[in-house]
């Protein structure tokens, strides 16, 4: 280990997982690759096809999410989305992520 770090001009060993545990950062780290807006996001495309506009396809814009539903899908998966292990995302991180995703949302009312 010491020898590796002694290699010339190397950066200090960096933990790959973001130190920022905010809901926004956790969403960016765990969810955005599939669920962000725009093309190239299979989760967004799948929700757009399923819901046919009844709810926004982008997770951050949905009004029908609850912390319970978010936690259930993360730990059980849905269709092509596999479940996530506790070494990937802790229960505490799921709580932060969920609180951020549902913040200020009123069921049935689209965010302005």
């Amino acid at each position: 280990m010491i020898r590796i770090l002694a290699l010339a001009a190397l950066l200090a060993a960096a933990p790959a997982h973001a130190a920022d545990r905010s809901g926004a950062a956790l969403f960016a780290y765990h969810c955005a690759a599939c669920h962000a807006a725009g093309p190239g996001h299979p989760g967004t495309a799948a929700l757009a096809y399923r819901d046919k506009g009844a709810e926004p396809a982008v997770l951050t814009e949905r009004t029908d999410l609850t912390p319970e539903l978010i936690a259930y899908v993360i730990r059980n998966g849905i269709n092509a989305m596999p479940y996530f292990r506790k070494t990937e995302i802790s229960d505490r991180d799921i709580a932060s992520l969920s609180a951020w995703l549902v913040r200020g949302k009123v069921p049935g009312r689209r965010p302005d």
Partner: protein, 534 residues
């Protein structure tokens, strides 16, 4: 669940030891937690054939991996290591031997080194392609990754399963691009390979062989050790990208097109050639449906006439170039000249030049895999879409290696067309199927089966047919490069030269290195003592 051959008392003692080694929070035994290690894409979900897990232990350091292995060794606990556990389509995080304890290395997530003067990285197994990519970007390092389809995978785990990518030849084969490993053996012994074996050397990730026999290959697609660090060669960030599409009009022109692209690529003049059939999009046309209505593979003349009538070239190859602006322009010009000299019938489709690094606009319009940018776009294959209206619960890849020639591809199409048709499966391989070109010196030609957790009957049909396809392919010399644990014995049986001499060698090595057979028993067909448990 208790691991096979282990008494409940010994298992309890071992679990207590694991907790002492890694912390109680990182040993998982509840059904809820252990269930997260099932293969989410299992084609045997909920059936007796599904491979299940008894517990999981997640160390945070090499020292903790050693401690876990010493305990496992003492109590004979079967251990199955995973990196990020995202080998979906090839078995996910589930073991070959049901009842194994998963050694989850996700917490070992440090980027140990990225050098953009000598162009290498050293990472732990829990680092994902996304992690490494962001590390490179955030530190403005001038190197590129070569990434597989799903960016949440691990460079270590992907390379160890012989995973592949889409940029320049020597980087696309991820195991070939690795350089140096740290490995924990079944008894907890720590080994470093290559230059890592010399404690004073700082060439771990630059010279792969070190001194004496290179043993790195033993730790890929195998069960000889737990890899805890791995070096990789990286490509210097290029200044520009260019692509050129070369087309040919007829089905039998594929051989000349492949020979042409081979000659360029094997000289190091282009990156990954991407083959396609422009006429494939016309398969819904009534004239084509009439051609195949009896399940007969159409003649070349009929197919050529159909392509011509639709105004489409039969084959295309997209050549991709990386380097300084004037060099990629010259390479594209040379490719155009050579194509016409070798194939007077050739035409040219889209050509594109992209300045690097990618602008945001280009990022949204290019094939990210060709630029070493990780994403999860590959899951569009399985996710709900007009093509797949109910959404699948997973996919399973059939991945045979075939020669890099037109004859081989055309023959493969016909053989697979007949095999799928006879079994009553939709013919997903047909007259327009192009080869996959991830490997530098061979083709693969994939078939993909969509899995449903609730349709047990269909999953059984798929498993039976998958085993049949393995045998059909083997009869033609096409062997899978990679497969899920459920099929690893069947694929292994096809690699049987001289009465399975290679398997017997692997088994002798297995029994010498891991005499208790605790590490990933059965992985890639290597069972301790040569015996698969009944």
């Amino acid at each position: 669940m208790t691991p096979p051959g282990v008494s409940p008392a010994d298992f309890a003692t071992a679990l207590a030891g694991f907790r002492a080694a890694v912390g109680a929070d990182w040993v998982f035994t509840s059904d809820e937690d252990v269930g997260l290690y099932r293969d989410a894409f299992s084609p045997a979900w909920g059936e007796p054939e599904e491979r299940l897990v008894s517990a999981a232990v997640a160390p945070a350091s090499t020292e903790q991996v050693q401690a876990v292995m010493r305990i496992a060794h003492r109590y004979g606990i079967p251990i199955y290591p995973i990196s990020t556990g995202r080998n979906l389509g090839y078995g996910g995080s589930a073991p070959n031997l049901s009842g194994s304890v998963v050694l989850d290395l996700k917490r070992m997530n440090r980027v140990l080194a990225v050098d953009d003067r000598r162009h290498f990285a050293i990472v732990e197994p829990g680092v994902s392609y996304f992690d490494l990519y962001h590390h490179i970007r955030e530190n403005n390092l001038q190197v590129w990754l070569d990434v597989p389809g799903p960016g949440w995978g691990s460079p270590v785990g992907n390379a160890l399963d012989h995973g592949v990518g889409d940029t320049w030849g020597i980087y696309r084969n991820h195991f070939s691009a690795h350089c140096g490993m740290e490995v924990v053996l079944a008894d907890g012994t720590l080994v470093r390979t290559g230059m890592g074996a010399m404690p004073q050397a700082d060439t771990w990730a630059e010279y792969p062989y070190g001194y004496g026999p290179s043993v790195d290959g033993l730790f890929a697609q195998s069960n000889f050790g737990v890899v805890t660090k791995m070096g990789f060669w990286l490509m210097p960030a290029p200044e520009a990208y260019a692509s050129l599409e070369v087309t040919v009009p007829r089905r039998q022109d594929l051989g000349a097109l492949i020979d042409f692209a081979n000659a360029l690529e094997h000289q190091g003049l282009c990156g990954e050639p991407l083959y396609s059939s422009p006429v494939a999009a016309e398969q819904g046309h009534p004239d084509y449906q009439a051609l195949i209505k009896d399940g007969v593979f159409p003649s070349d003349a009929a197919l050529d006439a159909f392509a011509a009538a639709r105004g489409k070239a039969y084959w295309a190859v997209k050549l991709q170039f990386y380097g300084p602006h004037e060099v990629v322009a010259a390479q594209a010009a040379a490719a155009r000249r050579i194509a016409l000299a070798r194939m007077p019938q050739a035409g040219f489709g889209a050509a594109r030049t992209v300045d690097l690094p990618l602008s945001d606009a280009d990022m949204a319009s290019v094939d990210l895999l060709a630029f070493g940018v990780p994403s999860l776009q590959a899951f569009a294959l399985t996710a709900r879409s007009p093509r797949n209206p109910d959404g699948a619960d997973g996919h399973l890849f059939f991945s045979p290696i075939i020669p890099k020639s037109g004859e081989a591809v055309l023959r493969y199409q016909q053989v697979m067309w007949e095999a799928f048709g006879k079994a009553g499966f939709p013919r997903q391989i047909g007259p327009f199927t192009p080869p996959n070109t991830w490997m530098f010196r061979s083709f693969a030609c994939l078939a993909v089966f969509l899995i449903s957790r609730s349709d047990v009957a269909q999953n059984r049909r798929i498993r039976t047919f998958f085993r049949h396809l393995i045998a059909v392919a083997a009869a033609h010399g096409w062997g899978e490069y990679r497969t899920a644990p459920m099929f690893q014995d069947a694929v292994r049986a096809a690699y049987d030269f001289n009465d399975n001499a290679l398997l017997r060698l692997h088994e002798r090595l297995k029994d010498a290195i891991d005499p208790q057979g605790i590490l990933a028993a059965g992985r890639y067909g290597i069972w301790p003592g040569g015996r698969k448990p009944q």
